[in-house]
């Protein structure tokens, strides 16, 4: 029996039901999917939850034709479908927005979209693509400049490009793998409007996120995975976050970290009228001034691209300042090299953990000594003392509960959450005066996030000055003592946490209000 088919506004035929049945997928050492059943219907948003490494992305990559399942099958509208590559699934009307964006930075937005067109003939008709792209983005309220290069876009804009691309290709079923991990609250809201609109038109949507309230807010059904298996699939009628977290982690999760009262000490970091340029040589920091005291967390809120990254990099010495002053522990550090800053008590958890924070092809142990690679404690004469390095690393692994087969494992084989824990472990073990933590829990599952936030609070208690940069306002609110909002390279206001409310912060982040 074929269900009646209708055509979606984006041009494709609805996919009434897509089902994954008995899917198993094995990777070296792990059973990523273990006889998983999952289905999604037209006009539905089905959320997929699970800790890092639970097998969500793997399952979706199978549906998208990127991986072949070891067992099980995919059915579309009851008929068995075999996807050998994304070309097959795209033809069947399935689109995917990946956890890591699948865009070509050196191409324009229009060209990126045109790349997915497989029936266009040998000559490009960019004009036509551009026209339809504008029409689509208008229809779904997605603001996009079709002529700029993707490398010029903020992550939020890239996200929109991904969605338009999926719509353009006529995706009747669209998979969104952690689409909100890199978005600002406003952007998340806008995204949800679009997604709801798509659902209402009859698209099938699969939504993956680590943020429970998003799942709660958006989805019609929720499937929770743990260790490659489906724990349960439930309808979203008043499910509590607590219940979901329990299903995911298998224990109770504490959402708000303990914040014991701390008496703040002297000023550890003072930033005065700091100016700097971004990668495109535009002024990105305009006379920024800040102070952080020992035992204090200063949260920087702001939409990404408003100078937070440049601020962190300037303090860490990765970006030259064009003016101003940075004083760490009483000493001006702007003229110091990165090395010297590290030695004078600076620790930095960078925003892009794989690009800046670690070396994927090095082992966990090698990554653990990244900045201390010539510390006497790891040396035996001119040579490394591997035993000392091993002890040190194993110690970090145990203390910070890092899940890894061993200290010799290559870092790239660790999950994002565990990479993050390793970075944090490394940075904290260097006993910093100042810790800069940029997006410390982005893309990290709730179990690990809980842990990381707890560790930050411990550090606060022990007198470390912490500069927390996050786009997650909840995180900022939960951890900070004071909150500075950045907008277009300026600090538009600093408020005490107890006086802050999300509303006002949001307005300040949008540049509509100053404190």
């Amino acid at each position: 029996m074929m269900p009646p088919t209708t055509t979606l506004p984006s041009g494709h035929t609805r996919i009434e039901t897509a089902a994954l049945q008995g899917i198993s997928k094995r990777f070296p050492g792990v059973l990523a999917n273990d006889h998983v059943n999952f289905d999604v219907n037209a006009g539905e948003i089905h959320a997929l939850l699970g800790e890092n490494g639970a097998g969500k992305s793997t399952l979706m990559k199978i549906l998208y034709g990127l991986y072949q399942p070891d067992e099980g099958e995919i059915t579309l509208n009851g008929e068995v479908a075999r996807f050998h590559s994304p070309a097959d699934s795209l033809t069947a009307g399935i689109g995917m927005i990946h956890q890591h964006f699948m865009l070509v930075p050196t191409l324009t937005v229009t060209e990126n979209v045109a790349l997915g067109i497989r029936s266009g003939g040998p000559l490009l008709n960019l004009k036509q693509v551009r026209k339809r792209l504008i029409a689509l983005s208008d229809a779904y309220g997605l603001k996009i400049d079709p002529d700029v290069y993707v490398w010029q876009l903020s992550v939020g804009e890239q996200q929109r490009v991904e969605i338009v691309k999926a719509l353009y290709q006529g995706g009747a079923l669209i998979i969104l793998d952690e689409p909100t991990a890199v978005l600002t609250p406003q952007e998340v809201d806008e995204l949800f409007v679009t997604l709801r609109q798509m659902r209402d038109e009859g698209h099938s949507l699969i939504f993956i996120s680590h943020k429970l309230y998003e799942v709660q807010d958006l989805s019609d059904r929720i499937t929770v995975m743990r260790d490659g298996r489906v724990v349960d699939t439930i309808a979203n009628h008043g499910v509590e976050q607590r219940t979901l977290a329990r299903m995911m982690v298998g224990r109770d999760v504490q959402f708000q970290p303990d914040r014991p009262p701390v008496t703040v000490g002297e000023v550890k970091l003072a930033v005065r009228s700091l100016c700097a340029q971004n990668d495109r040589d535009l002024l990105a920091l305009k006379e920024v001034s800040l102070e952080i005291r020992a035992g204090e967390v200063l949260g920087i809120a702001g939409v990404s691209g408003n100078g937070q990254r440049e601020l962190a990099e300037c303090i860490a010495g990765l970006r030259p300042a064009t003016g101003g002053e940075v004083i760490l522990n009483g000493h001006s550090i702007l003229s110091l090299s990165v090395q010297e800053r590290l030695q004078s008590g600076l620790s930095f958890v960078p925003e892009e953990r794989n690009r800046h924070g670690t070396i994927g092809s090095f082992s966990v142990a090698e990554n653990a000594i990244l900045q201390n690679n010539d510390a006497p404690q790891f040396l035996n004469g001119p040579f490394y003392n591997f035993e000392a390095i091993r002890r040190y690393t194993v110690d970090l692994i145990q203390k910070f509960n890092i899940k890894t087969p061993g200290h010799e494992t290559l870092l790239k084989n660790l999950s994002g959450g565990n990479v993050q824990k390793l970075i944090l472990a490394r940075e904290l073990s260097r006993q910093p005066v100042l810790l800069i933590a940029a997006q410390p829990t982005r893309g990290v599952d709730i179990g690990a996030s809980e842990y990381i936030r707890g560790v930050l609070m411990q550090q606060r208690s022990s007198g470390v000055a912490i500069l927390l940069i996050s786009e997650d306002l909840d995180e900022i609110m939960a951890l900070s003592d004071r909150i500075a909002v950045m907008y277009e390279g300026e600090v538009v206001g600093v408020v005490d946490r107890d006086d802050a409310d999300v509303e006002t912060l949001g307005l300040m982040m949008a540049g509509a209000q100053r404190a």
């Binding site: 590559s85 995917m96 964006f101 699948m102 070509v104 045109a114 266009g120 040998p122």
Partner: protein, 320 residues
Amino acid sequence: MESSRTLLDILIAASGLTLAAATPFLFAALGELFAQRSGVLNLGVEGIMLMGAFTSVFVISDKGFNAHPAVGLLVAMLVGALMGLMMAFVSVTLQAEQGISGIGLTLFGQGMSTLLFRVLAAGVIVAGGVEKIDLPVLSNLPVLGSIFFHQDILTYAAFALVPISVWVLNRTTWGLQVRAVGQNPQAADSMGVNVARVRYSAVILGGVLAGVAGASLSMALTGVFQENMTAGRGFIAVALVYFGGWSPWKVMAGALLFSAANNLQIWVQVLDVRVAGAAIPPNLLIMLPYVLTIVVLIFARERQRREPAALTKPFERGEN
């Protein structure tokens, strides 16, 4: 005698020679540009050029089949395509380290071309060359006419290929796919682009053009084939792709600069230019084009690096 040679005459002659000499570089470098834009570094250009140089001259010479030069060119293209296919198979399908497989291909091409030359031709082959063609009207232009429009057809073709390459890269679906696959094959793959097919085609096209480059060196520029006659020009062509920052126009500029510098140093020798009365040692002058190429790069620094991000990186689905 000296007086009959004006500076203008020399400039005109030098410019014409420069264009002709740049031809093989241009073909090979444009071909390599396509391969590299798709993410494959083909260091086998030297070997392919040699095979193209030999086979084309052989079939058109009386030691071979006395074929029309067009046939020679076609054979060179075919041989280039086959060797390009070999490179593509090894580097795309087998995902072998591109640096080594390219050097392997170069060795193979050097060996095979010499071997075939020894067995089939037993001694230097004289091709008779490719006629220069005066373009109607244009060749009568003063100065410009004799520089630009008194060349052989391959030279015209090589320079025409520059805007064509730009057009192909920017205006065709395949060109877009080549650019995407060289930058972010994962993304291209996830959009349904067949990464392997695009890379195969780009590398094969590169092979075809390297074959033509060899043919232009042997049939047109020198009119002969002798063992190992490319003498490292294939590697220079690869270097020119880096020089040109993967842009056809700048690659052309590089090929012209290199050839012009080389021609300049020959003129300095020929005219016996002296410094403070002393002759300049020829070896010093011969270094000139190489030194100049580096120096130009020092001063003409690009702000934005355009190197294809996936260059030399094999693509395997599922690797993030």
